[in-house]
Symmetry: C2
Subunit: 308 residues, 2 copies
């Protein structure tokens, strides 16, 4: 039982109304791996430059995160810099220096090829398919994407989506991908492209999940201090897929999985609620399983009501 | 057991991407009364002009809605005209003709003065207090307001809020009233102004309720066709307060009321989800209690998850 994740490992420079963090650990695979590693072993595939050393790897050490697939190549590590608006609801990209990530070709180590669960982080849909070509029939494939690929590589993205079980995107992306404003219609259109499960992330407004036979709505945890939203989506994905993989069944093939999927959404929301409490992976790396379970339970109290 | 509602009874002219309705029944007290009347008798206080007759009153007839408090005076009925954006998330007011509503002074009939529950629709906070001065110690006072009063009559609004148990406003209004962007902080600031319960309506993103000892989050029902959002907030309030009044206890004075308040939020969301399916009160007036109960149950399926 393990998860293969392919995505970016990066340096982030982030400015929020509450402070600035310069060249701190970021990237979709980083947030995903640490979040998922609370539940099952993670196999990480990504690339970093010569400027990425043992100090930066600390976040992954002492966890069930296998780093054989994290290539280190000549050049500099991917660097993203962004600045958030006063309300944290909008962000401006200051710079995107792809560096070694520009020529990234995912190579899946032999040991990883039987990973039962695969998460395709937000990279070129052509590369996402190359990952799938290198693995043996996983039980479940989950995938992220973004506006850049939706508008720039629509045909390649469609080919990838036809091989995906769970798509995790935000509400703006769901509307763009489907061409439908209404989320119920958007979900139907996207599920017809391949994914049996669509998870729509709405930031402070929570998550909607659409499956064959039901919809599920989960709120975001109402936090008094949101410090930095960077990585919340990938952290959600890590908590979601980690939780799903750790549960008996853990796939989406049969109806019984509805309950597992719902718990996974709440677990993703739980992990994401911690992620935003500090810069980078600072909160996630000092998180305990007891804290996770306590907040999961708070979601129960937050949403519970009795029938009439 | 009855609810006193004071608010507008109006003609609405509404344009949405799906059609236009000219001079149809609208107004906060109209939507509220029909929604609440599914649960308890409603005493309606408002004013209409000579252009408002039996045809328009049809929506209220055959229901537990007492119209003794609906004054008919010389002049024309309040008329509002608005146009919604393609996504229904923004609306532009085309005209606001207050007409007879401009000089409205709520007169509470003697029979209404012992109403146990009071809903103060979105009117001048000075008038809202005049209503409270005319009633005998209600068990629970709920109140709506808007940006116009928050910025234009802040001191009067504060005086009214100090006498209110439940405030129902939208997220933008909560932020404006409190001066806090973060909703947890906004809720604390607003509850310190008087209301023990704050209900924040977020449209398609659902509702957050803040009480002394807990927060509660409810999604909006994911509808495939949202036709006209006009009146959804007042319909929510009607379902909320109607459900609350119909439950044993039904107040907010003791801790046991937490469960009743949560059910009331879901019932408000249920009624609002029907309201937006058609223009004016068209859907509400042909709604059955069986349909209401079935959709309430769908909210359970929409939000339910099991513990780990």
């Amino acid at each position: 039982m393990s998860i293969l994740v392919v995505g970016s490992v990066a340096y982030d420079t982030v400015e929020t109304p509450f402070g600035k963090a310069d060249h701190v650990l970021g990237g979709s695979a980083s947030f995903f791996s640490v979040a998922a590693s609370f539940f099952v072993p993670v196999n990480l595939v990504g690339v970093v430059g010569e400027d990425f050393g043992e100090e930066q790897l600390k976040a992954f050490r002492g966890r069930e995160i296998d780093l054989e697939g994290l290539e280190r190549v000549p050049g500099k590590t991917f660097h993203w810099a962004g600045k958030y608006s006063f309300d944290l609801n909008a962000r401006e990209t200051i710079c995107t220096e792809l560096n070694v990530f520009e020529t990234f070709k995912p190579k899946i180590p032999a040991r990883y090829r039987r990973s039962e669960h695969v998460f395709l982080g937000n990279i070129d849909p052509v590369l996402q398919r190359q990952v799938l070509d290198q693995v043996e029939r996983p039980k479940l494939v989950a995938c992220d994407t973004m506006n850049f690929w939706i508008s720039g590589q629509p045909d390649e993205l469609r080919k990838t989506l036809s091989r995906v079980d769970v798509l995790l995107i935000n509400d703006a992306e769901a509307r763009q991908l489907s061409g439908e404003w209404n989320m119920v219609k958007a979900a139907r259109a996207i599920r017809a492209m391949g994914p049996r499960v669509l998870v729509v992330k709405k930031g402070e407004h929570g998550v909607l999940m659409f499956t064959e036979d039901a919809s599920f709505a989960a709120p975001a945890y109402p936090l008094e201090e949101v410090f930095d939203p960077t990585g919340a989506g990938d952290t959600f994905a890590g908590g979601f897929l980690g939780c799903l993989a750790s549960q008996a069944g853990g796939g989406t093939r049969d109806r019984a999985d509805g309950a597992a999927l719902r718990r996974a959404v709440i677990m993703g929301s739980t992990l994401a609620s911690f992620c935003v409490e500090a810069f980078s992976l600072d909160r996630l790396t000092r998180l305990t399983r007891a804290e996770i379970d306590a907040r999961f339970q708070l979601f129960k109290e937050l949403t519970h009501f009795e029938s009439l």
